[in-house]
């Protein structure tokens, strides 16, 4: 006990000493998931990039500290009654870091650039709701045909293919951020390099050394610069989460963007207020191949789902950093007033669920005496392995034996993409925007990329189509809920856990609000002396 208390005292002294010495108060040392693959908002795809780009640029709309949508470069907007045409009025004082005004033409240029096939934009499809976007990205139509027009310097009009109630949500994604046209024309792909980059957000890029750090400095031309407290933000990439934790404990960083699950309990014991485990917009699931002989039977799929003890997975394997999932759409999502449907077996006790599942399978001739074997495929990771082992054990009591097939992430997802043979496959989905459609669309029968289950239900597709055409948000939510009822009945995927974001935030860092999107723009944060 003695040594423990000495250690704790030393630790807190260290943190205090470290924070004052390692970084001056106005420099925010920010741990990031890893190195960004790019700082080009049109080539981006990762969360690490989203964090940095959110500081560098301002889109038409922005997230508040609580992740609610607020006006950004657009101070107001109007939508036509049919939901097809959006007209944005841009703020007069929006400026680029070099002093140029931000114009509607800049957004036209940017949105055309992301759709141009030669850009090689990984997330171009997120903006496909814009008129002609997909055809341009396929190279069939000229970029100038895009449904984005500058009516004048400060008025931007975007026309969509069909009503898209979550279109404003889509614009919060980093792909909607503008580029400075003159810089892109002058430097080409190198416009992202320090010295070349001109940005319109709260910060501008000072230096960028791969896997070392990215330094952002406050942009004096930003329209809300008066309310930006931090003069400098240093993004430090941590491939190894334990390294970030040690750096945080040594006072060298103010926040970590992810934590190792196995260390959560100790951290909670020592720095409870700093550990932020917050529900996140994502679901961890197993896809079931509906073309497999055993899994083609919906009752078998129900039994397999019923018998999985999700509390055990969440508490024992993921150390309370994941939440047991009873639906595919995670709770707290936007545009879902109706909420996910309730599936009745989740109210039963684990013992009753096991009995019921055994009963169902016994009626199909599956029991420990006459077992079947299915193959469970997952990508390499200690946690995925532990979860798969636990689930295999739960299934074995029913007479379902599991063979594992483990590959690294690239090989795993390539196998799924190429429609390789499988029975059960692990996957996870983090929402790109806060709308149930972004989860439920995955198993529409014509969704080639994500419908790993080969789920094919005309009724489900019909409900999704109906929802897509519905502009009344409550009615739309009810339609989506009906679709999710079918989802939970037919189980193309077995939802297992909802993701949580895990951050470590220094008590010195003010303004950090926990939110489901896990977005924390540096412009709202401060480090009071």
């Amino acid at each position: 006990m003695m040594t423990l208390s000495i250690k704790t005292t030393l630790l807190s002294a260290t943190i205090l000493a470290g924070l004052t010495s390692a970084a001056s108060a106005a420099t925010y040392m920010r741990g990031n998931d890893g190195n960004p693959e790019t700082l080009d908002q049109h080539k981006t795809s990762t969360v690490a990039e989203a964090n940095i780009l959110r500081d560098l640029y301002e889109g038409l709309v922005v997230y508040t500290p609580a992740a609610e949508i607020a006006p950004g470069v657009a101070e107001e907007w109007e939508v036509t009654d049919d939901g097809l045409v959006y007209t944005f009025k841009l703020r007069d004082d929006a400026m680029w870091s070099n002093g140029d005004p931000v114009t509607a033409g800049d957004f036209v240029y940017s949105l055309q650039r992301i759709m141009t096939p030669e850009t090689g934009a990984k997330y171009a499809n997120i903006l496909y709701p814009i008129q002609n976007a997909e055809a341009i990205n396929k190279g069939e139509v000229e970029p100038s045909e895009l449904g984005v027009k500058a009516l004048d310097d400060k008025t931007l009009q975007i026309t969509l293919n069909a009503a898209t109630p979550f279109f404003i949500e889509l614009l919060t994604h980093q792909t909607g951020l503008p580029v400075h046209p003159a810089s892109v024309d002058a430097h080409g792909a190198d416009f992202v390099q320090p010295g070349n980059m001109v940005s319109n957000g709260a910060y501008s890029l000072t230096s960028n050394i791969l896997n070392d750090k990215i330094v952002l400095t406050k942009n004096a031309n930003f329209h809300d610069a008066d309310n930006v407290a931090l003069e400098e933000v240093n993004y430090l990439p941590f491939e190894d989460r334990a390294t970030c934790v040690r750096a945080w404990e040594a006072g060298e960083v103010h926040s970590c963007s992810d934590l190792p699950a196995e260390d959560i309990e100790r951290l909670r014991g020592q720095h409870d207020a700093a550990v932020r485990v917050v529900p996140y917009l994502g679901t961890y699931y197993y896809a079931l191949n509906h073309e497999d002989d055993t899994l083609a039977d919906p009752e078998v799929r129900q039994a397999l789902s019923m018998v999985i003890d999700r509390e055990f997975l969440a508490d024992e394997i993921f150390q309370g950093t994941m939440v047991p999932a009873e639906s595919f759409v995670p709770p707290g999502i936007g545009n879902y007033a109706a909420g996910s449907p309730v599936t009745e077996y989740f109210d039963m006790s684990m013992l009753d669920r096991e009995d019921k599942a055994a009963e169902i399978l016994a009626a199909k001739g599956i029991s420990p005496d006459s077992p079947v074997t299915i193959e469970l495929m997952y990508n390499t990771s200690e946690n995925h392995k532990n979860a798969a082992t636990a689930i295999a054990d739960m299934w074995s009591n029913l007479g379902v034996n599991v063979e594992f097939n483990v590959r690294d992430a690239s090989a795993h997802y390539a196998h799924l993409r190429d429609k390789g043979d499988f029975d059960v496959a692990r996957a996870g989905w983090i929402g790109d925007y806060s709308d149930p459609q972004n989860f439920l669309f995955m198993v529409e029968s014509d969704n080639d990329g994500f419908n790993y289950a080969n789920y094919n239900n005309a009724e489900y597709d019909g409900l999704m189509d109906q929802a897509a055409g519905e502009t009344d948000l409550d009615k739309r939510a009810a339609l989506l809920q009906q679709a999710e009822v079918l989802f939970m009945r037919d189980l193309p995927f077995i939802p297992l856990l909802y993701y949580s974001s895990r951050s470590l935030v220094s008590p010195d860092l003010q303004g950090w609000e926990d939110n489901i999107q896990n977005v924390h723009a540096s412009r709202y944060l401060s480090l009071p002396q």
Binding site: K7, L10, L11, A13, T14, G18, A22, N35, E37, T38, L39, D40, K43, S45, P117, E118, T119, G120, A121, K122, Y123, A124, N125, N137, K138, A189, D190, Q193, I209, L210, N211, D212, L236, P237, E239, D240, A242, T243, R246, A247, E249, A250, G251, E252, R407, D408, A409, S410, A411, H412, Y413, A414, H415, L416, R417, A427, G428, W429, G449, F450
Partner: protein, 305 residues
Amino acid sequence: MLSYALRRLLSAIPTLFIIVTAAFFMMRLAPGGPFDQERTLEATVMANLNATFGLDKPLWQQYGIYLSNLFQGDMGPSFIYRDKRVHEILAEGLPISIQLGATALILALLLGALLGSIAALRQNTKTDFAVIAVATFGITVPNFVVAPVLSLVFAVILSWLPAQGWGQWNQMLLPVIALALPQIAVVTRLIRGSMIEALRSDHVRTARAYGLPTHMVVGKHALRAAILPAISYLGPAAAALLTGSIVVEQVFNLPGIGRYFVIGALNRDYTLVMGTVVIVAVFVVVFNLIVDLLYAVLDPRVRYD
């Protein structure tokens, strides 16, 4: 000796060519590609990316393009780090890896030679056993244990040194120690063995008979022979040390190039993997040559004509 060195360097060219060719095609045998990830890409997007990076061309053509670029000093674009070309990425990280590796290497050689000689001179005494015990410990405890423990003790608990990062001299200490420890241990054991042998050899006995002081006998005559096994060990070890270590780089968050071997392979970043293969191959060839040349300098029995 100069013509020997030139001949060796020339013979390295076909070796490198074979390595590059083998690595290129082996890398493509691995299932999956650089754009396969948790989020499957839209077919159109995938087609655009493949076209942007030339992956839609036949493999032999991609190989031809890669080779012709390589001869011009261009290692191609990274498939993952899209703002940089592979030679730019390596040029940023390599000096850091070399700085760390070279410091660790020199430390290993100096400390290893010192400890090994002391142990040999006091063979079968407590000092000898202590040195051997420490050296055995150093060899058996892996880097991924030593590095986090060092960081925990000296950065988190004692707060003497930074836990991570690069740029200041004190950020180098812990990683250099973590890199050097196992090497010190190996060199100590090698020197101890060869030193014991050297001390019994004729020329050392002769030196003693002439009445030379011990430090002259050991430092000038015995060590010169005793250091040879350590040199032949350190050649390949230097190639590995100077091209970085994924464990040490990740634990101390250093921007060296060691991590790219593993990250590149996992991400199927073909060009980045090829780049690291080329760098390591060149280092191995060069260091083997240096070792052979050093032998000629240190061991009068070896001559290249």
